[in-house]
């Protein structure tokens, strides 16, 4: 099962490599990883998507907690949460496909943010599964470039990850 693990880490050089090094050293998967500073300059928020049995994921969380640069860890998938991912996808759009893709982007509530005579660049936000569905709906031969941010998320309601 996929798990979204969110953590606050010290905003220091090397902190990210301690996290990624742990995953490679212990043979855990990382499907996606995203990290950026928070409102507190000294902290970064790192979100990663991994998979494994609940026992494996429990072990991952324990090992993350053991890293000195990791301040707090939360497995978002344990409770009600909101998850989002941003995708920029560049499509070859000529002839009939221009109108068809415009409609498809509307259906998926995306935006076409750059247009040339032969291409559309689409911006789309949503759960990873929705972005997957959009990609599946496009003729793969017409996809020129795909950039995805990796999943970020928060717990629903008042529950927060903070120091």
């Amino acid at each position: 099962m996929k798990h979204i693990i969110s953590m606050l880490i010290e905003n220091e050089s090397g902190a990210l490599s301690r996290v990624s090094g742990l995953f490679s050293a212990r043979g855990y998967n990382i499907h996606a990883l995203t990290v950026a500073p928070t409102e507190d300059d000294s902290l970064s928020r790192l979100t990663l998507v991994t998979s494994g049995t609940s026992q494996e994921v429990e072990q991952i969380v324990k090992h993350l907690n053991r890293l000195i640069d990791v301040v707090k860890v939360l497995d978002l998938t344990e409770g009600l949460h909101i998850e989002r991912e941003l995708m920029l996808i560049k499509l070859s759009a000529t002839g009939d496909t221009r109108e068809e893709y415009k409609r498809l982007v509307d259906i998926f509530r995306g935006d076409i943010i750059d247009v040339t005579s032969t291409t559309y660049t689409v911006q789309m936000v949503g759960k990873s599964a929705k972005l997957d569905a959009f990609i599946d709906a496009i003729d793969s031969g017409l996809i020129l470039e795909t950039v995805r941010s990796g999943t970020v998320g928060v717990m629903r309601g008042e529950k927060c990850l903070h120091v």
Binding site: E10, G14, S17, R18, G21, A25, Q55, E58, Q59, K62, H63, N65, R66, I68, D69, V70, V71, V163
Partner: protein
């Protein structure tokens, strides 16, 4: 007071109460070596002959005293040579601070002479590491390093200090306080869990205590002895835990695991409750996990939550310092009205004594060749069983663990986790430096000793009168044993050819060399080696042993604890 980074380091180490620092100079630590010359008062520096040995020696000091070992090496090759030692300490959770020099900050990343990314190279084998970029952060970083190394689950911490930071000036005052928001070691086990554990222990019919290095590291030997005596349960100890509970006590069933005793492994396999304390269910202990202790409920006490339910699922986890948890267990036990199942325990002990009666550590001592087991027993007799004993890695390590029963903690120094050949001699040096009046023995083999033999020179310089017991069978014994059992006796590269004459080698280093090759004279010769005559001399004892001897009992790879090969 304003001083250079190098001076700050030296003053800090003195203020921290560090007695010895093990190291080797080089370009990127010259300012520190200069400050040692000008500013050190109590702090003594021991010059080793190879950086790996510096780390093992600091490690041996830490294991024997419980205080952190401190190492100082230069950048590049100094740091990479130290890596094996750091990894050894990491695998066995030994408190250590390793200071490495680094090229000046302006040259980092430019492939400068003797530059290596020390923080990157050591990251997977340290509890934590630091690169100090600003001299103003040096003292507080040192404080954090010692705090991290010695608290919680201990481990090595590396501090990489660029040369310009060593030369830059800052005001120094010893930092009294340290606080890290992301590091809060557990100080107390959960009382509810401890109560539940005691209930489970009391209702057990076939219980066993399984204890490891955590009891030694956590200085909880006295509490373990008290608890074990109160319960009357059998106790087995891991290779790393030996000595925390006296081997001579009748409740001890010896070491468990791959080369553990028949009674220890069968007691584990047939138990209904296992109380694991400061042990981590290592693969050398459990054998095949599928077959591990099928009927047992497991209580696991450990300071590191990541050690719990890692290899074996646990029924009652207790995260906390072993000493505190055991103390609380004893007090719960004193107050409870629940009684032990005495009748079941009597039956259990009858069964265990039956297993013990197989006398699984027996060996044939009638031949004309010296048996390695007999040699270790001879050393035990000659030292009244009260020496500090380090070992290298291989058959001799197992023989030492099996035939030198330890009654006190911190007497047995060996690389259990990483299994580092070359550990023994420098580790013995560390113990000897800490306890100059005690007998310190290094049990080794002709293979292992050659991995750090250059330290004979250090021993002469500092008068470290270690007694080296080299069980010389002309083979990499454990490799040979596996080749005999599992590779149809194809002894590929396990025969040690072109061995030096160790007696002459010891003499050329200025020490005493003794050869023992006759079982009839062995004990008298060993008694002589450990007599007053050689109290202040390093003696290298080259004991020519039976080449064919194997370590028994043995659990082959993939087998369960109940599938042992006896003699």
């Amino acid at each position: 007071m304003e001083m250079t980074g190098a001076q700050i380091l030296v003053h800090y180490l003195e203020d921290e109460g560090v007695e010895h620092i093990w190291g080797y100079p080089g370009g990127a630590v010259l300012p520190i070596y200069d400050a040692l010359d000008t500013d050190a008062k109590e702090l003594s520096h021991i010059l080793v002959r190879h950086e790996q040995a510096a780390v093992h020696a600091a490690d041996g000091y830490a294991r024997s005293t419980g205080k952190p070992g401190v190492v100082l090496v230069t950048s590049g090759p100094g740091a990479t040579n130290a890596v094996t030692g750091i990894a050894t300490a990491y695998m066995d959770s030994i408190p250590m601070v390793c200071i490495t020099g680094q090229v000046p900050t302006g040259m980092i990343g430019l492939d400068a002479f003797q530059e290596i990314d020390t923080v990157g190279v050591t990251r997977p084998i340290v509890k934590h590491n630091f690169l100090v970029k600003n001299v103003d952060d040096l003292a507080s970083t040192l404080k954090k390093a010692f705090y991290l190394a010695t608290t919680g689950r201990p481990g090595p911490v590396v501090i990489d200090i660029p040369k310009d930071v060593q030369n830059a000036k800052s005001n120094y005052a010893y930092p009294q306080e340290v606080e890290m928001r992301s590091y809060l070691p557990v100080t107390k086990g959960h009382s509810g869990q401890i109560k539940k554990a005691v209930e489970m222990m009391l209702s057990a019919k076939r219980p066993i205590l399984y204890t490891g290095g955590g009891v030694v590291l956590g200085n909880a030997s006295a509490e373990l002895i008290e608890l074990t005596h109160k319960l009357g349960f059998p106790i087995t100890q891991t290779l790393m835990g030996l000595g925390a509970f006296p081997a001579s006590d009748k409740q001890s069933v010896g070491m468990l695991g791959m080369h553990g005793t028949y009674e220890a492994n069968l007691s584990m396999h047939n138990s209904d409750v296992i109380i694991a304390i400061g042990a981590r269910f290592d693969d050398r202990v459990t054998g095949n996990l599928e077959k591990f202790c099928p009927d047992a409920k497991i209580i696991h006490v450990d300071i590191d939550p990541a050690s719990i339910s890692k290899n074996v699922m646990v029924d009652i986890p207790i995260v906390g310092p072993v000493k505190q948890v055991l103390t609380e267990m004893i007090s719960v036990l004193d107050k409870t009205e629940q009684a032990l199942d005495e009748k079941a325990l009597v039956d259990w002990w009858v069964q265990i004594e039956e297993w013990r009666a197989t006398n699984c550590l027996r060996y044939d001592s009638t031949g004309s060749k010296i048996k390695p087991q007999a040699a270790v027993e001879g050393v035990w007799k000659a030292t009244n069983g009260d020496a500090y004993v380090s070992s290298d890695v291989g058959q001799h390590q197992m023989f030492a663990a099996q035939y030198y029963p330890f009654d006190k903690p911190r007497r047995w120094l060996n690389s259990g986790g990483l299994g580092t050949m070359g550990f023994g001699l420098p580790a013995a040096m560390g113990a000897k430096m800490a306890f100059p009046d005690e007998t310190v023995v290094c049990v080794t083999g002709e293979g292992s000793i050659q991995m750090n033999i250059q330290e004979l020179s250090t021993c002469l310089q500092y008068g470290l009168s270690v007694k080296i017991i080299c069980l010389n069978n002309g083979f990499l014994g454990m490799v040979r044993q596996w080749q005999e059992f599992f590779y149809e006796r194809r002894y590929s590269m396990s025969y040690m050819e072109s061995l030096p004459d160790f007696v002459k080698l010891a003499e050329s280093y200025g020490h005493v060399g003794v050869r023992i090759d006759d079982p009839k004279t062995m004990q008298a010769q060993l008694d002589d080696v450990f007599s007053e005559k050689y109290k202040n001399r390093l003696v290298f004892v080259d004991i020519i042993t039976d080449q064919q001897e194997n370590v028994y009992p043995m659990i082959p790879a993939g087998a369960g604890l109940n599938e042992m090969i006896l003699v």
